[in-house]
Protein backbone atom coordinates (compact mmCIF):
# COMPACT_ATOMS: atom_id res chain seq x y z
CA UNK A 1 0.00 0.00 0.00
CA UNK A 2 1.56 3.28 -1.07
CA UNK A 3 1.95 6.43 1.02
CA UNK A 4 -0.39 8.40 -1.23
CA UNK A 5 -3.10 5.77 -0.69
CA UNK A 6 -2.54 5.98 3.06
CA UNK A 7 -2.75 9.77 2.98
CA UNK A 8 -5.90 9.54 0.88
CA UNK A 9 -7.60 7.22 3.37
CA UNK A 10 -6.42 9.30 6.34
CA UNK A 11 -7.71 12.59 5.01
CA UNK A 12 -11.07 10.88 4.30
CA UNK A 13 -11.50 9.96 7.91
CA UNK A 14 -10.13 13.28 9.21
CA UNK A 15 -12.51 15.21 7.01
CA UNK A 16 -15.44 13.27 8.33
CA UNK A 17 -14.52 14.78 11.71
CA UNK A 18 -13.13 18.21 10.88
CA UNK A 19 -14.13 19.95 14.09
CA UNK A 20 -12.74 17.16 16.22
CA UNK A 21 -9.48 17.12 14.29
CA UNK A 22 -8.98 20.86 14.77
CA UNK A 23 -9.93 20.81 18.45
CA UNK A 24 -7.50 17.96 18.93
CA UNK A 25 -4.69 19.96 17.43
CA UNK A 26 -5.34 22.97 19.69
CA UNK A 27 -2.47 22.07 22.00
CA UNK A 28 -0.12 21.82 19.05
CA UNK A 29 -1.43 25.12 17.68
CA UNK A 30 -0.64 26.95 20.93
CA UNK A 31 2.67 25.14 21.36
CA UNK A 32 3.93 25.86 17.87
CA UNK A 33 2.84 29.50 17.90
CA UNK A 34 4.65 29.96 21.22
CA UNK A 35 7.80 28.39 19.81
CA UNK A 36 7.77 30.74 16.84
CA UNK A 37 7.04 33.81 18.96
CA UNK A 38 9.67 32.83 21.50
CA UNK A 39 12.39 32.41 18.93
CA UNK A 40 11.62 35.67 17.20
CA UNK A 41 11.52 37.61 20.48
CA UNK A 42 14.91 36.15 21.33
CA UNK A 43 16.53 36.94 18.01
CA UNK A 44 14.79 40.32 17.90
CA UNK A 45 16.31 41.25 21.24
CA UNK A 46 19.72 40.08 20.11
CA UNK A 47 19.52 42.18 16.97
CA UNK A 48 18.31 45.19 18.91
CA UNK A 49 21.21 44.92 21.34
CA UNK A 50 23.64 44.63 18.46
CA UNK A 51 22.13 47.73 16.90
CA UNK A 52 22.37 49.65 20.14
CA UNK A 53 26.02 48.75 20.46
CA UNK A 54 26.43 49.83 16.86
CA UNK A 55 24.85 53.17 17.72
CA UNK A 56 26.34 54.01 21.06
CA UNK A 57 29.59 52.09 20.95
CA UNK A 58 30.49 49.26 23.25
CA UNK A 59 32.35 49.14 26.55
CA UNK A 60 31.41 52.70 27.45
CA UNK A 61 30.68 54.23 30.85
CA UNK A 62 29.09 57.65 31.03
CA UNK A 63 29.79 59.87 34.05
CA UNK A 64 27.44 62.81 34.57
CA UNK A 65 27.23 65.64 37.06
CA UNK A 66 24.53 65.34 39.62
CA UNK A 67 23.72 67.81 42.34
CA UNK A 68 24.00 65.99 45.63
CA UNK A 69 20.60 65.75 47.17
CA UNK A 70 20.04 68.06 50.10
CA UNK A 71 18.09 66.31 52.85
CA UNK A 72 16.61 64.00 50.30
CA UNK A 73 15.55 66.80 47.94
CA UNK A 74 17.31 66.57 44.61
CA UNK A 75 18.25 69.89 43.13
CA UNK A 76 17.82 68.67 39.55
CA UNK A 77 20.43 67.23 37.28
CA UNK A 78 21.29 70.43 35.46
CA UNK A 79 21.61 72.79 38.37
CA UNK A 80 25.31 72.26 39.11
CA UNK A 81 28.19 71.05 37.00
CA UNK A 82 30.44 69.17 39.32
CA UNK A 83 32.67 67.43 36.78
CA UNK A 84 35.87 69.01 35.56
CA UNK A 85 38.61 68.31 33.05
CA UNK A 86 40.88 67.72 36.06
CA UNK A 87 38.68 64.75 37.07
CA UNK A 88 39.09 63.43 33.57
CA UNK A 89 42.88 63.69 33.60
CA UNK A 90 43.04 62.09 37.05
CA UNK A 91 40.89 59.15 35.94
CA UNK A 92 43.06 58.60 32.87
CA UNK A 93 46.15 58.61 35.03
CA UNK A 94 44.91 56.37 37.82
CA UNK A 95 43.03 53.73 35.84
CA UNK A 96 45.03 51.97 33.13
CA UNK A 97 41.89 50.07 32.09
CA UNK A 98 40.61 53.29 30.56
CA UNK A 99 41.44 53.53 26.88
CA UNK A 100 40.04 56.98 26.15
CA UNK A 101 37.73 59.60 27.63
CA UNK A 102 35.64 62.05 25.67
CA UNK A 103 34.52 65.12 27.67
CA UNK A 104 31.28 66.86 26.78
CA UNK A 105 29.58 70.20 27.27
CA UNK A 106 26.25 70.81 25.65
CA UNK A 107 23.44 73.26 25.08
CA UNK A 108 20.24 73.33 23.15
CA UNK A 109 20.06 76.29 20.86
CA UNK A 110 18.91 77.82 17.60
CA UNK A 111 20.99 77.16 14.50
CA UNK A 112 20.59 79.46 11.53
CA UNK A 113 21.83 78.86 8.01
CA UNK A 114 20.69 79.40 4.49
CA UNK A 115 17.69 81.40 5.74
CA UNK A 116 16.42 78.40 7.75
CA UNK A 117 16.58 77.92 11.47
CA UNK A 118 16.49 74.79 13.55
CA UNK A 119 16.71 73.91 17.24
CA UNK A 120 19.45 71.38 17.89
CA UNK A 121 21.69 70.06 20.63
CA UNK A 122 25.20 71.46 20.33
CA UNK A 123 28.00 69.39 21.83
CA UNK A 124 31.51 70.59 22.59
CA UNK A 125 33.98 67.72 22.71
CA UNK A 126 37.16 66.19 21.29
CA UNK A 127 37.82 63.75 18.46
CA UNK A 128 37.51 60.77 20.86
CA UNK A 129 33.78 61.45 20.89
CA UNK A 130 33.42 60.13 17.33
CA UNK A 131 35.31 56.90 17.98
CA UNK A 132 33.60 56.16 21.27
CA UNK A 133 30.13 56.89 19.95
CA UNK A 134 30.66 54.89 16.77
CA UNK A 135 30.07 57.95 14.60
CA UNK A 136 31.00 57.73 10.96
CA UNK A 137 31.46 60.54 8.48
CA UNK A 138 29.33 60.74 5.39
CA UNK A 139 31.25 63.81 4.21
CA UNK A 140 34.22 65.89 5.35
CA UNK A 141 36.49 65.22 8.32
CA UNK A 142 36.92 65.37 12.07
CA UNK A 143 38.68 68.21 13.94
CA UNK A 144 42.35 68.92 13.43
CA UNK A 145 44.68 69.27 16.42
CA UNK A 146 45.16 72.93 15.70
CA UNK A 147 41.41 73.59 15.54
CA UNK A 148 40.93 71.90 18.92
CA UNK A 149 43.75 73.83 20.57
CA UNK A 150 42.95 77.26 19.14
CA UNK A 151 39.21 77.12 19.54
CA UNK A 152 38.40 77.44 15.83
CA UNK A 153 34.83 78.07 14.79
CA UNK A 154 34.32 74.78 12.91
CA UNK A 155 31.34 72.43 13.24
CA UNK A 156 30.36 68.90 12.31
CA UNK A 157 26.63 68.37 11.84
CA UNK A 158 24.26 65.42 12.03
CA UNK A 159 21.96 64.27 9.27
CA UNK A 160 18.78 65.77 10.75
CA UNK A 161 20.38 69.20 11.06
CA UNK A 162 21.66 69.01 7.49
CA UNK A 163 18.23 68.07 6.17
CA UNK A 164 16.54 70.94 7.94
CA UNK A 165 19.04 73.63 7.09
CA UNK A 166 20.40 72.73 3.66
CA UNK A 167 19.04 71.56 0.35
CA UNK A 168 22.36 70.04 -0.60
CA UNK A 169 23.86 66.75 0.57
CA UNK A 170 27.32 68.27 0.93
CA UNK A 171 27.13 71.33 3.19
CA UNK A 172 30.91 71.38 3.64
CA UNK A 173 32.35 74.91 3.89
CA UNK A 174 28.88 76.38 4.38
CA UNK A 175 28.46 78.74 7.30
CA UNK A 176 25.98 78.14 10.12
CA UNK A 177 25.22 80.46 13.01
CA UNK A 178 25.07 78.94 16.45
CA UNK A 179 23.77 81.48 18.94
CA UNK A 180 24.63 84.11 16.32
CA UNK A 181 28.25 82.95 16.21
CA UNK A 182 29.29 81.89 12.68
CA UNK A 183 30.83 78.43 12.28
CA UNK A 184 32.17 76.69 9.18
CA UNK A 185 30.83 73.20 8.52
CA UNK A 186 33.73 70.76 8.05
CA UNK A 187 31.94 67.41 8.33
CA UNK A 188 28.62 65.59 7.97
CA UNK A 189 27.89 62.50 10.08
CA UNK A 190 26.24 59.30 8.87
CA UNK A 191 22.65 58.82 9.97
CA UNK A 192 22.15 56.60 13.05
CA UNK A 193 18.40 56.83 13.23
CA UNK A 194 16.28 57.64 16.23
CA UNK A 195 15.81 55.80 19.48
CA UNK A 196 12.55 55.71 21.37
CA UNK A 197 13.54 58.84 23.29
CA UNK A 198 15.82 60.92 21.04
CA UNK A 199 16.90 61.63 17.50
CA UNK A 200 20.64 60.98 17.60
CA UNK A 201 21.14 62.75 14.27
CA UNK A 202 19.79 66.05 15.59
CA UNK A 203 23.24 67.16 16.65
CA UNK A 204 25.96 69.77 16.02
CA UNK A 205 29.49 69.07 17.28
CA UNK A 206 32.13 71.74 17.83
CA UNK A 207 35.58 71.67 19.50
CA UNK A 208 35.39 71.66 23.30
CA UNK A 209 37.49 74.81 23.64
CA UNK A 210 35.39 76.73 21.09
CA UNK A 211 32.18 75.76 22.87
CA UNK A 212 33.53 76.80 26.25
CA UNK A 213 34.79 80.16 24.94
CA UNK A 214 31.95 81.18 22.66
CA UNK A 215 28.79 79.24 23.51
CA UNK A 216 28.66 78.04 27.12
CA UNK A 217 31.14 80.26 28.93
CA UNK A 218 28.57 81.10 31.63
CA UNK A 219 27.07 77.64 31.94
CA UNK A 220 30.40 75.82 32.20
CA UNK A 221 32.93 78.27 33.69
CA UNK A 222 36.57 77.26 34.15
CA UNK A 223 37.18 73.63 33.34
CA UNK A 224 33.71 72.39 34.23
CA UNK A 225 32.12 69.89 31.92
CA UNK A 226 28.69 68.27 31.67
CA UNK A 227 29.70 64.63 31.30
CA UNK A 228 32.35 62.31 30.05
CA UNK A 229 32.24 59.09 28.09
CA UNK A 230 34.82 56.60 29.31
CA UNK A 231 35.91 53.84 26.98
CA UNK A 232 37.17 50.71 28.76
CA UNK A 233 39.77 48.49 27.12
CA UNK A 234 37.70 45.31 27.24
CA UNK A 235 34.21 44.29 28.23
CA UNK A 236 35.53 42.06 31.04
CA UNK A 237 36.90 45.15 32.78
CA UNK A 238 33.69 47.16 32.40
CA UNK A 239 32.08 46.45 35.76
CA UNK A 240 35.33 46.57 37.72
CA UNK A 241 36.21 49.89 36.08
CA UNK A 242 32.77 51.24 36.94
CA UNK A 243 33.58 50.59 40.64
CA UNK A 244 37.09 52.02 40.28
CA UNK A 245 35.79 55.18 38.65
CA UNK A 246 33.36 55.55 41.53
CA UNK A 247 36.20 55.17 44.08
CA UNK A 248 38.52 57.62 42.32
CA UNK A 249 35.76 60.16 41.81
CA UNK A 250 34.74 60.00 45.48
CA UNK A 251 38.38 60.58 46.45
CA UNK A 252 38.69 63.54 44.06
CA UNK A 253 35.42 65.06 45.24
CA UNK A 254 36.07 64.17 48.89
CA UNK A 255 32.91 62.15 49.31
CA UNK A 256 32.85 59.25 51.78
CA UNK A 257 32.10 55.74 50.57
CA UNK A 258 28.49 55.94 51.81
CA UNK A 259 27.90 59.64 51.14
CA UNK A 260 25.67 60.94 48.34
CA UNK A 261 27.86 61.34 45.25
CA UNK A 262 27.67 64.49 43.10
CA UNK A 263 28.03 62.40 39.99
CA UNK A 264 26.30 59.41 38.47
CA UNK A 265 27.87 56.61 36.44
CA UNK A 266 25.76 55.07 33.68
CA UNK A 267 26.85 51.73 32.46
CA UNK A 268 25.28 51.24 29.08
CA UNK A 269 25.97 47.52 29.20
CA UNK A 270 23.68 47.43 32.21
CA UNK A 271 20.81 48.67 30.11
CA UNK A 272 21.57 46.21 27.37
CA UNK A 273 21.80 43.40 29.90
CA UNK A 274 18.44 44.39 31.31
CA UNK A 275 16.95 44.35 27.84
CA UNK A 276 18.45 40.95 27.15
CA UNK A 277 17.39 39.68 30.53
CA UNK A 278 13.77 40.72 30.04
CA UNK A 279 13.61 39.04 26.66
CA UNK A 280 15.24 35.98 28.17
CA UNK A 281 12.57 35.84 30.88
CA UNK A 282 9.90 36.25 28.23
CA UNK A 283 11.48 33.47 26.20
CA UNK A 284 11.64 31.12 29.19
CA UNK A 285 8.00 31.84 29.88
CA UNK A 286 7.04 31.11 26.28
CA UNK A 287 9.24 28.02 26.20
CA UNK A 288 7.40 26.74 29.25
CA UNK A 289 4.05 27.45 27.63
CA UNK A 290 5.29 25.83 24.42
CA UNK A 291 6.62 22.75 26.19
CA UNK A 292 3.51 22.22 28.27
CA UNK A 293 1.10 22.77 25.43
CA UNK A 294 3.04 20.53 23.08
CA UNK A 295 2.93 17.73 25.64
CA UNK A 296 -0.74 18.38 26.42
CA UNK A 297 -1.36 18.55 22.66
CA UNK A 298 0.41 15.24 22.18
CA UNK A 299 -1.64 13.62 24.92
CA UNK A 300 -4.76 15.09 23.30
CA UNK A 301 -3.81 13.46 20.03
CA UNK A 302 -3.15 10.17 21.76
CA UNK A 303 -6.51 10.39 23.49
CA UNK A 304 -8.48 11.13 20.35
CA UNK A 305 -6.62 8.47 18.40
CA UNK A 306 -7.47 5.90 21.08
CA UNK A 307 -11.12 6.94 20.75
CA UNK A 308 -10.85 6.70 16.97
CA UNK A 309 -9.33 3.24 17.13
CA UNK A 310 -12.13 2.06 19.41
CA UNK A 311 -14.79 3.65 17.21
CA UNK A 312 -13.36 2.03 14.13
CA UNK A 313 -12.60 -1.37 15.59
CA UNK A 314 -15.07 -3.07 13.27
CA UNK A 315 -13.68 -1.20 10.28
CA UNK A 316 -10.19 -2.34 11.21
CA UNK A 317 -11.54 -5.88 11.27
CA UNK A 318 -13.03 -5.42 7.80
CA UNK A 319 -9.74 -4.05 6.45
CA UNK A 320 -7.90 -7.01 7.96
CA UNK A 321 -10.38 -9.47 6.47
CA UNK A 322 -9.77 -8.07 2.98
CA UNK A 323 -6.03 -8.36 3.43
CA UNK A 324 -4.66 -5.42 5.48
CA UNK A 325 -1.46 -6.39 7.25
CA UNK A 326 -0.52 -5.13 10.71
CA UNK A 327 1.89 -2.72 9.11
CA UNK A 328 -0.86 -1.25 6.90
CA UNK A 329 -3.10 -0.56 9.87
CA UNK A 330 -0.21 0.83 11.94
CA UNK A 331 0.82 3.19 9.15
CA UNK A 332 -2.70 4.36 8.49
CA UNK A 333 -3.29 5.45 12.07
CA UNK A 334 0.20 6.92 12.39
CA UNK A 335 -0.38 9.02 9.30
CA UNK A 336 -3.71 10.14 10.68
CA UNK A 337 -2.15 11.41 13.90
CA UNK A 338 0.73 12.90 11.95
CA UNK A 339 -1.76 14.80 9.80
CA UNK A 340 -3.61 16.11 12.85
CA UNK A 341 -0.37 17.39 14.35
CA UNK A 342 0.82 18.88 11.07
CA UNK A 343 -2.49 20.69 10.60
CA UNK A 344 -2.01 22.02 14.13
CA UNK A 345 1.55 22.96 13.23
CA UNK A 346 0.41 24.90 10.16
CA UNK A 347 -2.29 26.78 12.05
CA UNK A 348 0.22 27.40 14.85
CA UNK A 349 2.74 28.87 12.43
CA UNK A 350 0.10 31.16 10.98
CA UNK A 351 -0.98 32.22 14.47
CA UNK A 352 2.63 32.74 15.55
CA UNK A 353 3.32 34.95 12.53
CA UNK A 354 0.18 36.93 13.37
CA UNK A 355 1.36 37.42 16.95
CA UNK A 356 4.84 38.45 15.80
CA UNK A 357 3.56 41.06 13.38
CA UNK A 358 0.90 42.24 15.83
CA UNK A 359 3.34 42.65 18.71
CA UNK A 360 6.05 44.31 16.67
CA UNK A 361 3.52 46.73 15.18
CA UNK A 362 1.69 47.52 18.41
CA UNK A 363 4.55 47.62 20.91
CA UNK A 364 7.22 48.69 18.43
CA UNK A 365 9.11 45.80 19.87
CA UNK A 366 11.80 44.53 17.61
CA UNK A 367 10.95 40.95 16.55
CA UNK A 368 12.84 39.09 13.92
CA UNK A 369 11.35 36.17 12.03
CA UNK A 370 13.74 33.29 11.96
CA UNK A 371 12.99 30.84 9.15
CA UNK A 372 14.65 28.11 11.13
CA UNK A 373 11.83 28.46 13.65
CA UNK A 374 9.32 27.40 11.00
CA UNK A 375 11.39 24.34 10.16
CA UNK A 376 11.74 23.65 13.88
CA UNK A 377 7.96 23.89 14.33
CA UNK A 378 7.37 21.32 11.62
CA UNK A 379 9.90 19.01 13.22
CA UNK A 380 8.30 19.50 16.64
CA UNK A 381 4.73 18.91 15.54
CA UNK A 382 5.47 15.95 13.32
CA UNK A 383 7.53 14.21 15.97
CA UNK A 384 4.74 14.75 18.48
CA UNK A 385 2.23 13.29 16.02
CA UNK A 386 4.39 10.21 15.54
CA UNK A 387 5.41 9.75 19.19
CA UNK A 388 1.94 10.15 20.64
CA UNK A 389 0.20 8.45 17.72
CA UNK A 390 2.32 5.34 17.97
CA UNK A 391 0.63 3.71 20.94
CA UNK A 392 -2.93 3.97 19.54
CA UNK A 393 -1.74 2.89 16.09
CA UNK A 394 0.01 -0.14 17.53
CA UNK A 395 -3.11 -0.96 19.51
CA UNK A 396 -5.11 -0.91 16.27
CA UNK A 397 -2.56 -2.99 14.39
CA UNK A 398 -2.47 -5.63 17.12
CA UNK A 399 -6.22 -6.19 17.11
CA UNK A 400 -7.28 -9.74 16.45
CA UNK A 401 -9.27 -9.69 13.16
CA UNK A 402 -12.04 -11.94 14.49
CA UNK A 403 -12.58 -9.90 17.67
CA UNK A 404 -12.45 -6.70 15.64
CA UNK A 405 -15.04 -7.98 13.16
CA UNK A 406 -17.33 -9.07 15.95
CA UNK A 407 -17.05 -5.70 17.78
CA UNK A 408 -20.31 -3.76 17.90
Amino acid sequence: MSITDLIYLSQKSLRSNILRSILTSLGIIIGVSSVITMISIGSGARIEVEQQIERFGSNNLIVRSQSSSNRGVSMGANSVNTLTLKDMEALKEELPAIKAIAPRVSLSTQIVANGNNWLATVTGTTNDYFDLGNWKFQNGRSFEEEELNSGSRVAIIGKTVQKNLFDTDSPIDEVIRINKVPFTVIGLLDAKGGTAWADLDDTVIVPLKTAKQRLVAKKFPGDQIRSMTINVRSSDLLFKTEKDVDTVMRKLHKISANGNPDFVIRNYAQFLNARQESSRVMSILLATVAGISLIVGGIGIMNIMLVTVTERTKEIGVCMSVGAKKRDILLQFLIESLMISLIGGLIGIALGLGVIFGVSEYFKWKMSLDYMSIVLSFVFSSSIGIIFGFYPARKAANLNPIDALRYE
Binding site: M1, K12, V318, V322, A324, K326, P401, L405
Partner: protein
Protein backbone atom coordinates in the same frame (compact mmCIF):
# COMPACT_ATOMS: atom_id res chain seq x y z
CA UNK B 1 -12.72 -21.91 32.80
CA UNK B 2 -9.84 -23.58 34.55
CA UNK B 3 -8.96 -27.01 33.27
CA UNK B 4 -12.18 -27.53 31.37
CA UNK B 5 -11.16 -26.31 27.95
CA UNK B 6 -14.10 -25.41 25.82
CA UNK B 7 -13.59 -26.79 22.34
CA UNK B 8 -15.34 -24.69 19.69
CA UNK B 9 -14.50 -27.37 17.16
CA UNK B 10 -13.92 -30.96 18.04
CA UNK B 11 -12.42 -33.61 15.79
CA UNK B 12 -13.35 -32.02 12.49
CA UNK B 13 -12.27 -33.84 9.35
CA UNK B 14 -13.42 -31.97 6.31
CA UNK B 15 -12.23 -31.38 2.80
CA UNK B 16 -13.80 -29.05 0.29
CA UNK B 17 -13.00 -29.31 -3.38
CA UNK B 18 -12.42 -26.47 -5.76
CA UNK B 19 -15.70 -25.44 -7.36
CA UNK B 20 -17.86 -26.79 -4.54
CA UNK B 21 -20.83 -24.88 -3.17
CA UNK B 22 -21.00 -25.90 0.48
CA UNK B 23 -23.69 -24.79 2.92
CA UNK B 24 -22.86 -25.03 6.60
CA UNK B 25 -25.86 -25.11 8.94
CA UNK B 26 -26.15 -25.17 12.66
CA UNK B 27 -27.60 -23.33 15.62
CA UNK B 28 -25.62 -20.66 17.40
CA UNK B 29 -22.78 -22.16 19.40
CA UNK B 30 -22.52 -25.11 17.04
CA UNK B 31 -19.03 -24.00 15.98
CA UNK B 32 -19.95 -22.99 12.46
CA UNK B 33 -18.52 -19.48 12.90
CA UNK B 34 -15.23 -20.82 14.23
CA UNK B 35 -15.06 -23.23 11.32
CA UNK B 36 -15.67 -20.34 8.98
CA UNK B 37 -12.94 -18.25 10.58
CA UNK B 38 -10.48 -21.08 10.11
CA UNK B 39 -11.54 -21.74 6.51
CA UNK B 40 -11.27 -17.99 5.86
CA UNK B 41 -7.77 -17.85 7.33
CA UNK B 42 -8.86 -15.32 9.96
CA UNK B 43 -7.85 -17.76 12.68
CA UNK B 44 -5.65 -20.82 13.00
CA UNK B 45 -6.68 -24.01 14.79
CA UNK B 46 -5.16 -24.57 18.26
CA UNK B 47 -4.35 -28.14 17.19
CA UNK B 48 -4.61 -30.02 13.95
CA UNK B 49 -3.95 -28.76 10.47
CA UNK B 50 -5.75 -26.79 7.82
CA UNK B 51 -4.51 -26.82 4.26
CA UNK B 52 -5.68 -24.21 1.82
CA UNK B 53 -4.55 -25.04 -1.71
CA UNK B 54 -0.78 -25.54 -1.29
CA UNK B 55 -0.48 -23.81 2.08
CA UNK B 56 -0.43 -25.38 5.52
CA UNK B 57 -2.36 -22.51 7.06
CA UNK B 58 -1.77 -23.69 10.65
CA UNK B 59 1.88 -22.65 10.38
CA UNK B 60 1.43 -19.21 8.78
CA UNK B 61 2.05 -15.89 10.58
CA UNK B 62 -0.40 -13.01 10.51
CA UNK B 63 1.21 -11.35 7.49
CA UNK B 64 1.00 -14.52 5.41
CA UNK B 65 -2.60 -15.02 6.52
CA UNK B 66 -3.40 -11.47 5.44
CA UNK B 67 -1.81 -12.09 2.06
CA UNK B 68 -3.81 -15.28 1.60
CA UNK B 69 -7.08 -13.55 2.50
CA UNK B 70 -6.19 -10.72 0.16
CA UNK B 71 -5.43 -12.88 -2.87
CA UNK B 72 -7.58 -15.98 -2.63
CA UNK B 73 -10.50 -15.36 -0.31
CA UNK B 74 -13.48 -13.03 -0.46
CA UNK B 75 -15.81 -12.38 2.47
CA UNK B 76 -19.49 -11.54 2.34
CA UNK B 77 -20.95 -10.61 5.74
CA UNK B 78 -24.48 -10.57 7.09
CA UNK B 79 -24.44 -6.83 7.69
CA UNK B 80 -22.29 -5.96 4.65
CA UNK B 81 -19.43 -4.34 6.65
CA UNK B 82 -18.84 -1.57 4.15
CA UNK B 83 -16.77 1.45 5.24
CA UNK B 84 -19.31 4.27 5.63
CA UNK B 85 -17.01 7.10 4.52
CA UNK B 86 -16.06 5.48 1.22
CA UNK B 87 -18.28 5.25 -1.86
CA UNK B 88 -19.09 1.95 -3.57
CA UNK B 89 -16.08 2.05 -5.85
CA UNK B 90 -13.68 2.95 -3.03
CA UNK B 91 -15.05 0.12 -0.92
CA UNK B 92 -14.49 -2.35 -3.74
CA UNK B 93 -10.98 -0.95 -4.30
CA UNK B 94 -9.98 -1.58 -0.66
CA UNK B 95 -8.60 -5.15 -1.06
CA UNK B 96 -6.81 -4.08 -4.25
CA UNK B 97 -5.13 -1.25 -2.28
CA UNK B 98 -3.63 -3.78 0.09
CA UNK B 99 -2.40 -5.97 -2.76
CA UNK B 100 -0.54 -2.96 -4.16
CA UNK B 101 -2.24 -2.76 -7.54
CA UNK B 102 -1.75 0.56 -9.30
CA UNK B 103 -4.47 3.17 -9.46
CA UNK B 104 -5.58 2.53 -13.02
CA UNK B 105 -5.74 -1.25 -12.71
CA UNK B 106 -7.62 -1.23 -9.42
CA UNK B 107 -10.20 1.31 -10.56
CA UNK B 108 -10.76 -0.77 -13.68
CA UNK B 109 -11.15 -3.98 -11.68
CA UNK B 110 -13.51 -2.28 -9.21
CA UNK B 111 -15.76 -0.97 -11.95
CA UNK B 112 -15.84 -4.36 -13.64
CA UNK B 113 -16.75 -6.03 -10.34
CA UNK B 114 -19.53 -3.50 -9.69
CA UNK B 115 -20.81 -3.99 -13.24
CA UNK B 116 -20.93 -7.74 -12.77
CA UNK B 117 -23.25 -7.34 -9.76
CA UNK B 118 -25.43 -4.86 -11.64
CA UNK B 119 -24.33 -1.63 -9.89
CA UNK B 120 -22.75 0.17 -12.81
CA UNK B 121 -24.77 3.31 -12.09
CA UNK B 122 -24.09 3.35 -8.35
CA UNK B 123 -20.29 3.50 -8.24
CA UNK B 124 -20.13 6.90 -6.53
CA UNK B 125 -22.85 6.27 -3.97
CA UNK B 126 -21.98 5.92 -0.33
CA UNK B 127 -23.33 2.94 1.63
CA UNK B 128 -25.99 5.09 3.34
CA UNK B 129 -27.31 6.09 -0.10
CA UNK B 130 -27.83 2.44 -1.09
CA UNK B 131 -30.50 -0.11 -0.18
CA UNK B 132 -29.63 -3.24 1.79
CA UNK B 133 -29.60 -5.39 -1.33
CA UNK B 134 -27.39 -2.90 -3.15
CA UNK B 135 -25.00 -2.74 -0.20
CA UNK B 136 -24.74 -6.52 -0.17
CA UNK B 137 -24.01 -6.45 -3.87
CA UNK B 138 -21.22 -3.91 -3.26
CA UNK B 139 -19.77 -6.24 -0.66
CA UNK B 140 -19.93 -9.13 -3.15
CA UNK B 141 -18.16 -6.91 -5.68
CA UNK B 142 -15.50 -6.22 -3.03
CA UNK B 143 -15.15 -9.96 -2.43
CA UNK B 144 -14.67 -10.79 -6.11
CA UNK B 145 -12.61 -7.78 -7.21
CA UNK B 146 -9.32 -9.55 -6.53
CA UNK B 147 -10.49 -12.71 -8.39
CA UNK B 148 -10.43 -15.02 -5.35
CA UNK B 149 -10.66 -18.82 -5.42
CA UNK B 150 -13.01 -18.97 -2.44
CA UNK B 151 -15.91 -16.86 -1.26
CA UNK B 152 -17.09 -17.16 2.32
CA UNK B 153 -20.60 -15.90 2.84
CA UNK B 154 -21.71 -15.59 6.47
CA UNK B 155 -25.52 -15.36 6.52
CA UNK B 156 -25.47 -13.16 3.40
CA UNK B 157 -29.26 -12.88 3.27
CA UNK B 158 -29.79 -12.54 7.01
CA UNK B 159 -30.39 -8.78 6.91
CA UNK B 160 -32.40 -8.74 3.69
CA UNK B 161 -36.02 -9.38 2.75
CA UNK B 162 -36.65 -12.70 1.01
CA UNK B 163 -36.96 -11.29 -2.51
CA UNK B 164 -33.65 -9.41 -2.26
CA UNK B 165 -32.15 -12.44 -0.56
CA UNK B 166 -32.98 -14.55 -3.58
CA UNK B 167 -31.28 -12.03 -5.88
CA UNK B 168 -28.11 -12.25 -3.76
CA UNK B 169 -28.25 -16.05 -3.82
CA UNK B 170 -28.59 -15.97 -7.60
CA UNK B 171 -25.39 -13.86 -7.85
CA UNK B 172 -23.53 -16.34 -5.62
CA UNK B 173 -24.85 -19.21 -7.71
CA UNK B 174 -23.59 -17.54 -10.89
CA UNK B 175 -20.15 -17.02 -9.31
CA UNK B 176 -20.06 -20.70 -8.40
CA UNK B 177 -20.98 -21.56 -11.96
CA UNK B 178 -17.87 -19.65 -13.06
CA UNK B 179 -15.77 -21.96 -10.88
CA UNK B 180 -15.43 -20.01 -7.65
CA UNK B 181 -15.74 -22.17 -4.55
CA UNK B 182 -18.49 -20.93 -2.22
CA UNK B 183 -18.82 -21.69 1.48
CA UNK B 184 -22.10 -20.40 2.85
CA UNK B 185 -23.12 -20.25 6.49
CA UNK B 186 -26.83 -20.05 7.14
CA UNK B 187 -29.59 -21.39 9.36
CA UNK B 188 -32.32 -21.16 6.72
CA UNK B 189 -33.08 -24.38 4.89
CA UNK B 190 -34.13 -22.82 1.59
CA UNK B 191 -30.94 -20.72 1.49
CA UNK B 192 -28.82 -23.74 2.39
CA UNK B 193 -30.50 -25.59 -0.47
CA UNK B 194 -28.51 -23.52 -3.00
CA UNK B 195 -25.48 -25.54 -1.99
CA UNK B 196 -24.49 -28.76 -3.70
CA UNK B 197 -23.38 -30.11 -0.34
CA UNK B 198 -24.90 -29.42 3.07
CA UNK B 199 -22.98 -29.79 6.33
CA UNK B 200 -24.92 -29.75 9.60
CA UNK B 201 -23.03 -28.97 12.81
CA UNK B 202 -23.76 -29.29 16.50
CA UNK B 203 -21.56 -28.74 19.57
CA UNK B 204 -18.43 -28.37 17.51
CA UNK B 205 -18.92 -31.60 15.63
CA UNK B 206 -20.09 -32.39 12.15
CA UNK B 207 -23.47 -34.02 12.51
CA UNK B 208 -24.22 -34.65 8.88
CA UNK B 209 -22.38 -34.08 5.59
CA UNK B 210 -24.24 -35.01 2.43
CA UNK B 211 -24.82 -34.17 -1.18
CA UNK B 212 -27.82 -31.97 -1.72
CA UNK B 213 -30.25 -34.01 -3.78
CA UNK B 214 -32.67 -31.12 -4.19
CA UNK B 215 -30.14 -29.06 -6.09
Amino acid sequence: MGDNKLLALDNIDLSINEGDFVSIMGSSGSGKSTLMNIIGCLDVPSSGEYHFRDNNVSTLNSNKLAELRNKDIGFVFQNFNLLPRLNAQENVVLPLLYSGKNLKVRNQLAIEALESVGLKDRVHHRPNQLSGGQQQRVSIARAIAGSPKLILADEPTGALDSKTGLEIMKILNDLNAKGITIVLVTHEDDIANYGSRIIKMKDGKILEDKKNVNN
